[in-house]
Assembly symmetry: D3
Homo-oligomer: 67 residues x 6
Protein backbone atom coordinates (compact mmCIF):
# COMPACT_ATOMS: atom_id res chain seq x y z
CA UNK A 1 0.00 0.00 0.00
CA UNK A 2 -0.31 2.29 -1.92
CA UNK A 3 -0.75 0.77 -5.36
CA UNK A 4 -0.07 2.95 -8.38
CA UNK A 5 -0.82 2.01 -11.98
CA UNK A 6 0.63 4.00 -14.87
CA UNK A 7 -0.81 3.32 -18.32
CA UNK A 8 1.05 4.66 -21.35
CA UNK A 9 1.17 3.75 -24.99
CA UNK A 10 3.77 1.16 -25.92
CA UNK A 11 6.37 3.33 -27.61
CA UNK A 12 9.82 2.16 -26.64
CA UNK A 13 9.79 3.10 -22.99
CA UNK A 14 13.31 2.25 -21.82
CA UNK A 15 14.25 0.37 -18.67
CA UNK A 16 15.83 3.55 -17.33
CA UNK A 17 12.59 5.47 -17.86
CA UNK A 18 10.69 2.72 -16.04
CA UNK A 19 13.11 3.03 -13.13
CA UNK A 20 12.47 6.77 -13.04
CA UNK A 21 8.70 6.33 -13.15
CA UNK A 22 8.78 3.81 -10.31
CA UNK A 23 11.18 5.86 -8.18
CA UNK A 24 9.24 9.06 -8.82
CA UNK A 25 5.77 7.63 -8.15
CA UNK A 26 6.99 6.02 -4.94
CA UNK A 27 8.65 9.22 -3.77
CA UNK A 28 5.43 11.12 -4.50
CA UNK A 29 3.27 9.10 -2.10
CA UNK A 30 6.05 9.08 0.48
CA UNK A 31 6.34 12.87 0.41
CA UNK A 32 2.69 13.83 0.05
CA UNK A 33 1.03 11.12 2.15
CA UNK A 34 3.90 9.89 4.31
CA UNK A 35 3.43 6.34 3.03
CA UNK A 36 5.95 3.57 3.54
CA UNK A 37 8.04 3.02 0.39
CA UNK A 38 8.67 -0.62 1.41
CA UNK A 39 5.06 -1.50 0.67
CA UNK A 40 4.40 0.84 -2.24
CA UNK A 41 3.80 -0.98 -5.52
CA UNK A 42 3.88 0.53 -8.99
CA UNK A 43 2.75 -1.28 -12.14
CA UNK A 44 3.41 0.15 -15.60
CA UNK A 45 1.13 -0.98 -18.43
CA UNK A 46 2.37 -0.40 -21.96
CA UNK A 47 -0.72 -0.35 -24.15
CA UNK A 48 -0.31 -1.12 -27.89
CA UNK A 49 -0.90 2.00 -30.01
CA UNK A 50 -3.79 0.26 -31.78
CA UNK A 51 -5.52 -0.33 -28.43
CA UNK A 52 -5.68 3.23 -27.12
CA UNK A 53 -8.27 5.67 -28.37
CA UNK A 54 -8.96 9.31 -27.77
CA UNK A 55 -11.42 11.68 -29.48
CA UNK A 56 -13.14 8.57 -30.81
CA UNK A 57 -10.06 7.66 -32.90
CA UNK A 58 -7.23 5.16 -32.61
CA UNK A 59 -4.11 6.70 -31.15
CA UNK A 60 -2.08 5.04 -33.91
CA UNK A 61 -4.14 6.86 -36.55
CA UNK A 62 -3.98 10.21 -34.76
CA UNK A 63 -0.23 9.82 -34.45
CA UNK A 64 0.17 9.27 -38.20
CA UNK A 65 -1.79 12.45 -38.85
CA UNK A 66 0.40 14.23 -36.31
CA UNK A 67 -2.71 15.43 -34.45
CA UNK B 1 -12.50 12.16 -18.88
CA UNK B 2 -14.26 9.77 -19.11
CA UNK B 3 -11.99 6.73 -19.18
CA UNK B 4 -13.35 3.48 -20.59
CA UNK B 5 -11.62 0.12 -20.42
CA UNK B 6 -12.80 -2.81 -22.55
CA UNK B 7 -11.39 -6.22 -21.69
CA UNK B 8 -11.89 -9.04 -24.19
CA UNK B 9 -10.13 -12.30 -24.89
CA UNK B 10 -7.29 -12.08 -27.39
CA UNK B 11 -8.89 -13.67 -30.41
CA UNK B 12 -7.85 -11.81 -33.52
CA UNK B 13 -9.60 -8.53 -32.91
CA UNK B 14 -8.92 -6.53 -36.07
CA UNK B 15 -7.80 -2.92 -36.26
CA UNK B 16 -11.14 -2.05 -37.83
CA UNK B 17 -13.02 -3.62 -34.93
CA UNK B 18 -10.86 -1.65 -32.50
CA UNK B 19 -11.74 1.55 -34.36
CA UNK B 20 -15.43 0.67 -34.06
CA UNK B 21 -15.13 -0.09 -30.33
CA UNK B 22 -13.37 3.20 -29.68
CA UNK B 23 -15.74 5.25 -31.82
CA UNK B 24 -18.79 3.54 -30.31
CA UNK B 25 -17.71 3.80 -26.68
CA UNK B 26 -16.86 7.48 -27.14
CA UNK B 27 -20.17 8.20 -28.84
CA UNK B 28 -21.99 6.45 -25.98
CA UNK B 29 -20.66 8.76 -23.25
CA UNK B 30 -21.14 11.79 -25.50
CA UNK B 31 -24.79 10.92 -26.14
CA UNK B 32 -25.78 9.64 -22.70
CA UNK B 33 -23.73 11.94 -20.46
CA UNK B 34 -22.93 14.84 -22.78
CA UNK B 35 -19.21 14.30 -22.24
CA UNK B 36 -16.53 15.93 -24.37
CA UNK B 37 -15.16 13.43 -26.94
CA UNK B 38 -11.85 15.34 -27.07
CA UNK B 39 -10.96 14.14 -23.58
CA UNK B 40 -12.57 10.70 -23.66
CA UNK B 41 -10.05 7.88 -23.50
CA UNK B 42 -10.70 4.23 -24.37
CA UNK B 43 -8.24 1.41 -23.66
CA UNK B 44 -8.78 -2.09 -25.06
CA UNK B 45 -7.10 -4.98 -23.24
CA UNK B 46 -6.78 -8.23 -25.16
CA UNK B 47 -6.43 -10.95 -22.52
CA UNK B 48 -4.77 -14.26 -23.54
CA UNK B 49 -7.35 -17.10 -23.61
CA UNK B 50 -5.34 -18.97 -20.96
CA UNK B 51 -5.63 -15.98 -18.60
CA UNK B 52 -9.42 -15.56 -18.53
CA UNK B 53 -11.58 -17.79 -16.42
CA UNK B 54 -15.30 -18.20 -15.95
CA UNK B 55 -17.29 -20.85 -14.08
CA UNK B 56 -14.04 -21.74 -12.36
CA UNK B 57 -12.52 -22.93 -15.67
CA UNK B 58 -10.02 -21.54 -18.16
CA UNK B 59 -11.77 -19.85 -21.09
CA UNK B 60 -9.40 -21.72 -23.44
CA UNK B 61 -10.63 -25.06 -22.05
CA UNK B 62 -14.31 -24.08 -22.17
CA UNK B 63 -13.84 -22.96 -25.76
CA UNK B 64 -12.41 -26.32 -26.80
CA UNK B 65 -15.44 -28.03 -25.27
CA UNK B 66 -17.68 -25.58 -27.10
CA UNK B 67 -19.39 -24.67 -23.83
CA UNK C 1 -16.73 -11.92 -20.88
CA UNK C 2 -16.22 -9.16 -22.00
CA UNK C 3 -15.76 -6.85 -19.04
CA UNK C 4 -16.21 -3.12 -19.55
CA UNK C 5 -15.38 -0.44 -17.01
CA UNK C 6 -16.62 3.13 -17.45
CA UNK C 7 -15.09 5.76 -15.19
CA UNK C 8 -16.76 9.17 -15.01
CA UNK C 9 -16.82 11.97 -12.49
CA UNK C 10 -19.54 11.72 -9.86
CA UNK C 11 -21.93 14.38 -11.07
CA UNK C 12 -25.49 13.19 -10.61
CA UNK C 13 -25.54 10.39 -13.16
CA UNK C 14 -29.13 9.17 -13.09
CA UNK C 15 -30.29 5.57 -12.95
CA UNK C 16 -31.72 5.97 -16.44
CA UNK C 17 -28.35 7.15 -17.77
CA UNK C 18 -26.68 4.15 -16.13
CA UNK C 19 -29.18 1.86 -17.84
CA UNK C 20 -28.33 3.50 -21.17
CA UNK C 21 -24.58 3.18 -20.60
CA UNK C 22 -24.91 -0.50 -19.72
CA UNK C 23 -27.27 -1.28 -22.59
CA UNK C 24 -25.12 0.67 -25.06
CA UNK C 25 -21.77 -0.78 -24.00
CA UNK C 26 -23.19 -4.30 -24.13
CA UNK C 27 -24.70 -3.74 -27.57
CA UNK C 28 -21.36 -2.39 -28.79
CA UNK C 29 -19.40 -5.58 -28.05
CA UNK C 30 -22.27 -7.71 -29.35
CA UNK C 31 -22.35 -5.85 -32.66
CA UNK C 32 -18.63 -5.30 -33.21
CA UNK C 33 -17.21 -8.52 -31.77
CA UNK C 34 -20.21 -10.84 -31.81
CA UNK C 35 -19.89 -11.37 -28.05
CA UNK C 36 -22.60 -13.00 -25.94
CA UNK C 37 -24.59 -10.33 -24.04
CA UNK C 38 -25.47 -12.90 -21.34
CA UNK C 39 -21.90 -12.88 -20.08
CA UNK C 40 -21.00 -9.25 -20.76
CA UNK C 41 -20.39 -7.26 -17.57
CA UNK C 42 -20.27 -3.48 -17.28
CA UNK C 43 -19.13 -1.63 -14.17
CA UNK C 44 -19.59 2.14 -13.82
CA UNK C 45 -17.28 3.96 -11.41
CA UNK C 46 -18.36 7.42 -10.30
CA UNK C 47 -15.19 9.20 -9.21
CA UNK C 48 -15.52 12.15 -6.77
CA UNK C 49 -14.67 15.45 -8.51
CA UNK C 50 -11.84 16.02 -6.04
CA UNK C 51 -10.25 12.69 -7.03
CA UNK C 52 -9.94 13.19 -10.79
CA UNK C 53 -7.16 15.25 -12.24
CA UNK C 54 -6.29 16.42 -15.72
CA UNK C 55 -3.64 18.91 -16.93
CA UNK C 56 -2.07 18.50 -13.51
CA UNK C 57 -5.11 20.10 -11.82
CA UNK C 58 -8.08 18.84 -9.84
CA UNK C 59 -11.17 18.45 -12.00
CA UNK C 60 -13.19 20.23 -9.31
CA UNK C 61 -10.93 23.28 -9.60
CA UNK C 62 -10.95 23.30 -13.41
CA UNK C 63 -14.74 23.06 -13.35
CA UNK C 64 -15.05 26.13 -11.13
CA UNK C 65 -12.86 28.05 -13.57
CA UNK C 66 -15.03 26.80 -16.41
CA UNK C 67 -11.95 25.53 -18.24
CA UNK D 1 -2.93 9.71 -22.32
CA UNK D 2 -1.28 8.69 -20.02
CA UNK D 3 -3.72 7.46 -17.39
CA UNK D 4 -2.50 7.11 -13.82
CA UNK D 5 -4.43 5.49 -10.99
CA UNK D 6 -3.35 5.92 -7.38
CA UNK D 7 -4.98 3.65 -4.82
CA UNK D 8 -4.54 4.49 -1.15
CA UNK D 9 -6.47 3.69 2.00
CA UNK D 10 -9.21 6.16 2.88
CA UNK D 11 -7.59 8.01 5.77
CA UNK D 12 -8.43 11.69 5.56
CA UNK D 13 -6.50 12.57 2.44
CA UNK D 14 -6.96 16.33 2.13
CA UNK D 15 -7.86 18.25 -0.99
CA UNK D 16 -4.43 19.85 -0.91
CA UNK D 17 -2.76 16.43 -0.82
CA UNK D 18 -4.88 15.34 -3.78
CA UNK D 19 -3.75 18.43 -5.69
CA UNK D 20 -0.13 17.54 -4.93
CA UNK D 21 -0.60 13.92 -6.02
CA UNK D 22 -2.20 14.99 -9.29
CA UNK D 23 0.37 17.70 -9.99
CA UNK D 24 3.25 15.39 -9.10
CA UNK D 25 2.08 12.39 -11.08
CA UNK D 26 1.45 14.56 -14.12
CA UNK D 27 4.85 16.20 -13.86
CA UNK D 28 6.45 12.76 -13.59
CA UNK D 29 5.19 11.51 -16.96
CA UNK D 30 5.92 14.89 -18.55
CA UNK D 31 9.52 14.83 -17.36
CA UNK D 32 10.33 11.15 -17.82
CA UNK D 33 8.33 10.36 -20.96
CA UNK D 34 7.79 13.81 -22.46
CA UNK D 35 4.02 13.30 -22.36
CA UNK D 36 1.51 16.09 -22.88
CA UNK D 37 0.09 17.27 -19.54
CA UNK D 38 -3.09 18.47 -21.27
CA UNK D 39 -4.18 14.89 -21.87
CA UNK D 40 -2.76 13.25 -18.76
CA UNK D 41 -5.44 11.93 -16.43
CA UNK D 42 -4.98 10.94 -12.80
CA UNK D 43 -7.61 9.14 -10.73
CA UNK D 44 -7.22 8.71 -6.97
CA UNK D 45 -9.13 5.84 -5.33
CA UNK D 46 -9.57 6.02 -1.58
CA UNK D 47 -10.16 2.45 -0.44
CA UNK D 48 -11.97 1.89 2.91
CA UNK D 49 -9.57 0.48 5.54
CA UNK D 50 -11.76 -2.62 5.86
CA UNK D 51 -11.39 -3.32 2.13
CA UNK D 52 -7.59 -3.40 1.84
CA UNK D 53 -5.63 -6.43 2.91
CA UNK D 54 -1.96 -7.24 3.16
CA UNK D 55 -0.18 -10.24 4.70
CA UNK D 56 -3.55 -11.99 4.55
CA UNK D 57 -5.01 -9.55 7.11
CA UNK D 58 -7.32 -6.56 6.98
CA UNK D 59 -5.40 -3.27 6.92
CA UNK D 60 -7.78 -1.94 9.60
CA UNK D 61 -6.79 -4.79 11.94
CA UNK D 62 -3.06 -4.43 11.24
CA UNK D 63 -3.35 -0.72 11.91
CA UNK D 64 -4.92 -1.29 15.32
CA UNK D 65 -2.04 -3.61 16.20
CA UNK D 66 0.38 -0.99 14.96
CA UNK D 67 2.04 -3.56 12.69
CA UNK E 1 3.34 -8.41 -5.21
CA UNK E 2 0.94 -9.96 -6.16
CA UNK E 3 -1.98 -7.57 -6.29
CA UNK E 4 -5.50 -8.99 -6.26
CA UNK E 5 -8.68 -7.01 -6.84
CA UNK E 6 -12.07 -8.48 -6.03
CA UNK E 7 -15.11 -6.60 -7.34
CA UNK E 8 -18.53 -7.53 -5.98
CA UNK E 9 -21.84 -5.76 -5.72
CA UNK E 10 -22.34 -3.72 -2.56
CA UNK E 11 -24.74 -5.96 -0.66
CA UNK E 12 -23.84 -5.96 3.02
CA UNK E 13 -20.53 -7.76 2.84
CA UNK E 14 -19.50 -8.12 6.48
CA UNK E 15 -16.10 -7.41 7.95
CA UNK E 16 -15.73 -11.11 8.68
CA UNK E 17 -16.41 -11.98 5.04
CA UNK E 18 -13.82 -9.42 3.97
CA UNK E 19 -11.30 -11.03 6.31
CA UNK E 20 -12.06 -14.41 4.74
CA UNK E 21 -11.72 -13.04 1.19
CA UNK E 22 -8.37 -11.45 1.99
CA UNK E 23 -7.03 -14.49 3.85
CA UNK E 24 -8.24 -16.85 1.13
CA UNK E 25 -6.95 -14.85 -1.82
CA UNK E 26 -3.56 -14.46 -0.15
CA UNK E 27 -3.36 -18.16 0.66
CA UNK E 28 -4.23 -18.97 -2.97
CA UNK E 29 -1.23 -17.16 -4.46
CA UNK E 30 1.03 -18.49 -1.72
CA UNK E 31 0.01 -22.09 -2.40
CA UNK E 32 -0.24 -22.00 -6.19
CA UNK E 33 2.60 -19.61 -7.03
CA UNK E 34 4.74 -19.71 -3.90
CA UNK E 35 4.38 -15.95 -3.46
CA UNK E 36 5.33 -14.10 -0.30
CA UNK E 37 2.21 -13.28 1.77
CA UNK E 38 4.03 -10.30 3.35
CA UNK E 39 3.85 -8.40 0.07
CA UNK E 40 0.54 -9.69 -1.25
CA UNK E 41 -2.13 -6.98 -1.45
CA UNK E 42 -5.86 -7.54 -1.85
CA UNK E 43 -8.35 -4.77 -2.56
CA UNK E 44 -12.10 -5.36 -2.37
CA UNK E 45 -14.35 -3.02 -4.36
CA UNK E 46 -18.02 -2.95 -3.40
CA UNK E 47 -19.86 -1.68 -6.46
CA UNK E 48 -23.33 -0.09 -5.96
CA UNK E 49 -26.07 -2.32 -7.40
CA UNK E 50 -27.10 0.46 -9.78
CA UNK E 51 -23.57 0.59 -11.21
CA UNK E 52 -23.15 -3.05 -12.25
CA UNK E 53 -24.70 -4.38 -15.42
CA UNK E 54 -24.96 -7.77 -17.01
CA UNK E 55 -26.97 -8.95 -20.03
CA UNK E 56 -27.32 -5.28 -20.92
CA UNK E 57 -29.40 -4.64 -17.77
CA UNK E 58 -28.77 -3.06 -14.38
CA UNK E 59 -28.01 -5.65 -11.73
CA UNK E 60 -30.47 -3.87 -9.40
CA UNK E 61 -33.27 -4.40 -11.93
CA UNK E 62 -32.37 -8.04 -12.61
CA UNK E 63 -32.32 -8.66 -8.87
CA UNK E 64 -35.84 -7.29 -8.43
CA UNK E 65 -37.04 -9.63 -11.16
CA UNK E 66 -35.20 -12.48 -9.45
CA UNK E 67 -33.40 -13.29 -12.72
CA UNK F 1 -20.35 -11.05 -11.12
CA UNK F 2 -18.02 -11.07 -9.23
CA UNK F 3 -14.96 -10.00 -11.20
CA UNK F 4 -11.54 -10.90 -9.84
CA UNK F 5 -8.24 -9.63 -11.21
CA UNK F 6 -4.95 -11.24 -10.18
CA UNK F 7 -1.77 -9.38 -11.10
CA UNK F 8 1.54 -11.22 -10.81
CA UNK F 9 4.93 -10.81 -12.38
CA UNK F 10 5.44 -12.68 -15.64
CA UNK F 11 7.64 -15.54 -14.49
CA UNK F 12 6.61 -18.72 -16.24
CA UNK F 13 3.21 -19.22 -14.69
CA UNK F 14 2.04 -22.55 -16.12
CA UNK F 15 -1.35 -23.32 -17.56
CA UNK F 16 -1.98 -25.68 -14.67
CA UNK F 17 -1.22 -22.91 -12.15
CA UNK F 18 -3.62 -20.61 -13.99
CA UNK F 19 -6.31 -23.28 -13.75
CA UNK F 20 -5.69 -23.52 -10.00
CA UNK F 21 -5.82 -19.74 -9.55
CA UNK F 22 -9.09 -19.51 -11.45
CA UNK F 23 -10.68 -22.49 -9.70
CA UNK F 24 -9.50 -21.26 -6.29
CA UNK F 25 -10.59 -17.64 -6.70
CA UNK F 26 -14.00 -18.74 -7.96
CA UNK F 27 -14.45 -21.17 -5.08
CA UNK F 28 -13.50 -18.41 -2.63
CA UNK F 29 -16.34 -16.06 -3.62
CA UNK F 30 -18.77 -18.99 -3.83
CA UNK F 31 -17.93 -20.11 -0.30
CA UNK F 32 -17.54 -16.75 1.41
CA UNK F 33 -20.21 -14.73 -0.41
CA UNK F 34 -22.44 -17.43 -1.85
CA UNK F 35 -21.89 -16.05 -5.36
CA UNK F 36 -22.83 -17.91 -8.52
CA UNK F 37 -19.75 -19.54 -10.11
CA UNK F 38 -21.44 -19.43 -13.53
CA UNK F 39 -21.05 -15.66 -13.68
CA UNK F 40 -17.77 -15.29 -11.79
CA UNK F 41 -14.96 -14.01 -13.98
CA UNK F 42 -11.25 -14.14 -13.19
CA UNK F 43 -8.59 -12.35 -15.22
CA UNK F 44 -4.87 -13.01 -14.64
CA UNK F 45 -2.43 -10.29 -15.69
CA UNK F 46 1.21 -11.32 -16.07
CA UNK F 47 3.22 -8.13 -15.68
CA UNK F 48 6.75 -8.03 -17.21
CA UNK F 49 9.41 -7.97 -14.47
CA UNK F 50 10.68 -4.62 -15.79
CA UNK F 51 7.20 -3.10 -15.32
CA UNK F 52 6.61 -3.87 -11.64
CA UNK F 53 8.20 -1.79 -8.94
CA UNK F 54 8.31 -1.98 -5.19
CA UNK F 55 10.35 0.01 -2.65
CA UNK F 56 10.94 2.50 -5.45
CA UNK F 57 12.96 -0.10 -7.43
CA UNK F 58 12.31 -2.31 -10.44
CA UNK F 59 11.29 -5.82 -9.43
CA UNK F 60 13.78 -7.18 -12.00
CA UNK F 61 16.63 -5.35 -10.26
CA UNK F 62 15.54 -6.41 -6.75
CA UNK F 63 15.34 -9.99 -7.97
CA UNK F 64 18.90 -9.95 -9.25
CA UNK F 65 20.06 -8.69 -5.86
CA UNK F 66 18.00 -11.41 -4.21
CA UNK F 67 16.26 -8.82 -2.05
Amino acid sequence: MPYINIKVTDEQVTKEQKQQLIAGATQLVVEVLNKNPETTHVVIDEVPVDNWGVKGKLYSDLKKLNV
